[in-house]
Symmetry: C2
Subunit: 436 residues, 2 copies
């Protein structure tokens, strides 16, 4: 029986999950592949820590070069994470003719161009199903099953930490800071949660999804990114009163020669399937011109689901090795050479409905001032609530608008924030009613 040799660089949580699959599911993988996968070498700077798996110590090394320069190793799983030395390892492995499997969305979002160009030139595969939505099949369905569709929209709940926080804020009325602390103590929010809660992780994933769906390069830097740290649990309660749930949504759309790519807290109708994605679960909703809406739902992070995605890619690369068909499906769904270069629509051009929250002194005439400024900016109000609730003399005013250009909203809010009666910076949340 043919044997395919795999090297693993980075033996942290996901790496441990990968080793578990090699150990526990060798038989089913062999049955399906008709060949044997051999985990030949694991490199990690820290090889001493006990990962709770029994391994032949001779396959452990602290030197990634033992993998990168082993001519018997066919493919390299990169689970180092971050930009460097991950980038150097990946580029070196490609130059050595090795296929790459990675879960590193940051690396792909920022250095994808360079990596994919090198891989196409060298004729090796780069696979990264685990980089978006953990165990949920997302990248491969876009590249394979749904590839006869012109995609119109891709929406994602892609960060489990944010979704857990928002779910607790919505369902229990808990405060952002409290839930974040709980999540950190439970170990599924990072000690420094900035990348998660400020939307950066979600934007990394959206850069990949929009490039895949629309066949155009979407730079990470061009994605508007806004996190959830300014939301109050009151916003989630108000949203429910209006029939909405608030999610940190990754939104990709295409139309009129431009791509929309944005990450921000979004109010979506409470009855929409994406509103029912709770806790640490992730989901991706695709709208294709023929398939219509498709939703893919599951565990978007965690050792075992992410390892499942990594090993699905390992199996795919193994099949390509066995059949001599690397690059059979290009990494981004089409060859880099066939990529388009569409611009990303600036946020100022966005037209949306908005939820606005103001904190003002509880004085007569405040509402007239606010609505006057909104009217001056051609923003019309669809409904308003002024909850019977004061904190230190400050009262919340919540306004839902009809459709308005984002540029007008920003200008109006800047003006309102200058009013003498305002006690806190106003907050706005975009509303998406037409999700498909």
């Amino acid at each position: 029986m043919k044997e395919i040799n795999v090297g693993l660089i980075g033996f942290g949580t996901i790496g441990t999950g990968v080793v578990h699959i090699f150990q526990q599911n060798a038989d089913v993988m062999e049955q399906r592949l008709g060949a044997r996968l051999n985990l030949k070498k694991i490199a990690d700077l820290d090889v001493i820590t006990d990962r709770g798996v029994t391994l032949d110590p001779s396959i452990l090394t602290t030197d990634a070069n033992e993998i990168l320069h082993d001519p018997e190793i066919d493919m390299v799983i990169e689970l180092v994470g971050g930009y460097e030395p991950a980038r150097t390892f990946v580029m070196e492995a490609i130059s050595q003719g090795k296929h790459i499997i990675t879960a590193n969305k940051a690396l792909l979002a920022l250095h994808g161009d360079e990596i994919l160009a090198a891989s196409e030139e060298k004729g090796v595969s780069v696979m990264f199903e685990a980089a978006v939505a953990g165990g949920i099949p997302v990248i491969s369905p876009i590249k394979e099953n749904l590839c006869a569709n012109r995609f119109r929209t891709v929406l994602g709940i892609l960060n489990g930490t944010c979704n857990y926080i928002l779910t607790r804020m919505s369902q229990e009325g808990d405060d952002f800071a409290d839930v974040l602390k709980d999540a950190q103590e439970a170990g599924f929010a990072e000690a420094d949660p900035t990348f998660d809660i400020e939307g950066v992780d979600t934007a990394h994933k959206l850069a990949i999804l929009t490039s895949l769906c629309f066949g155009t390069k979407v730079d990470f830097d061009s994605i508007y990114t806004e996190g959830i740290s300014r939301l109050s649990s009151l916003d989630l309660q108000f949203a429910r009163q209006f029939g909405y749930e608030i999610k940190l949504l990754a939104i990709g759309k295409i139309g009129y020669g431009k791509v929309e790519a944005r990450v921000h807290p979004t109010m979506i109708p409470i009855s929409h399937p994406l509103a029912e994605v709770h806790g640490v679960f992730n989901a991706v909703r695709l709208l294709g011109d023929f398939v219509g809406p498709v939703m893919l739902h599951g565990q978007g992070a965690g050792m075992e689901p992410t390892a499942s995605a990594v090993m699905g890619d390992v199996m795919s690369v193994a099949r390509d090795i066995l059949h001599g068909s690397p690059l059979r499906t290009p990494a981004m769904g089409c060859s880099q050479k066939n990529f388009e270069d569409l611009p990303v629509r600036p946020m100022e051009e966005l037209i949306s409905q908005y939820y606005l929250r103001f904190g003002a002194l509880d004085r007569p005439g405040v509402l007239a001032q606010i609505s006057g400024i909104l009217g001056n900016h051609d923003i019309s109000i669809s409904s308003m609530i002024q909850p019977d609730r004061q904190i230190g003399g400050t009262v919340s005013i919540v306004i839902m608008t009809h459709e308005a250009p984002e540029a007008n909203i920003r200008a109006a809010l800047a003006e309102i924030d200058e009013l003498e009666v305002m006690r806190e910076k106003s907050l706005f949340i975009r509303i998406e009613n037409d999700l498909g």
Copy 2:
């Protein structure tokens, strides 16, 4: 640019959708494939009917042999449906070295063995993503992304007609017969709906899914199949009172050396994601040992979604042709040679909770008689309702049981049905609380 020639046999609804994709999305398919797909010939016995598409008349024929024996045609899309002549066409195409794409679940459920054995011997691909859950990527995720998992459970809502009927019965309280008539008039239930409403179509699909997930041959004949025609809208109302929704569920499980494969109306907790699959939508829920639960949701039927799945397979086969890698991924996820041959667990061995509904004369002592017989068969009752509702002197008695062997339930109900006071055959619905 390389050109790949495709022949289409069967120019009905789905075939028309396929032609639409060839016409409307040639550019994106070419961008992604790096080659051109050419629909060279369409065969249908009836070529006169106007399908609302403009085609060069010279590509139309009434003779399938013009496709089967055209050496320039690389792959054949079979959309004839049914057993014959579809089987003959497919076998002949394989013997001519042509790859097969089909949406024909009946053919695969009954003649899959023969077809796949021939295709492996000839070295051609057989693809059938469209056969299960229409446009939703299901078969490929099982074979590709999730293939490092040991699957534990596969659950499906796989028949849009049934799900539409059950949704209306549950949400509007409409009667089965009325909703069926509406669905027929709206054109999405067949004139003869037997295959749909009696669960046969769902069982065809489950035969494919269980074989795929568990790597073992599951004969269609061994699948217990029960449809929805005996359900009353009262059952759906009672179910909701107990916190359940009723769905026609395809259930595949594996354990203790046996496969479970069954299709029947099933009560599932109202908060479970599968309970939220409404109307004509389909969903498949997979439970893998590493990935955990994954749910795939979308349009399970209809011209355009099904054509999307067909064309996804066409793209995949085209990639295999371009890279010389047919059989890269075996049709059933592993080679027929590596298939196991596990037995299907007989229904009598099933242990479940049950919903029981009896129609009896409204007389004192009836409940004592029923509960006595249940007790004699070791069936314990968890709750009971006797709605205040009489139809012609007949009263409904609804009982929820604790876990009991199906053999006991059947024996008890047979005995109860003999009671003089009973006015209609008793009905039972299996309850699944542990869906993953």
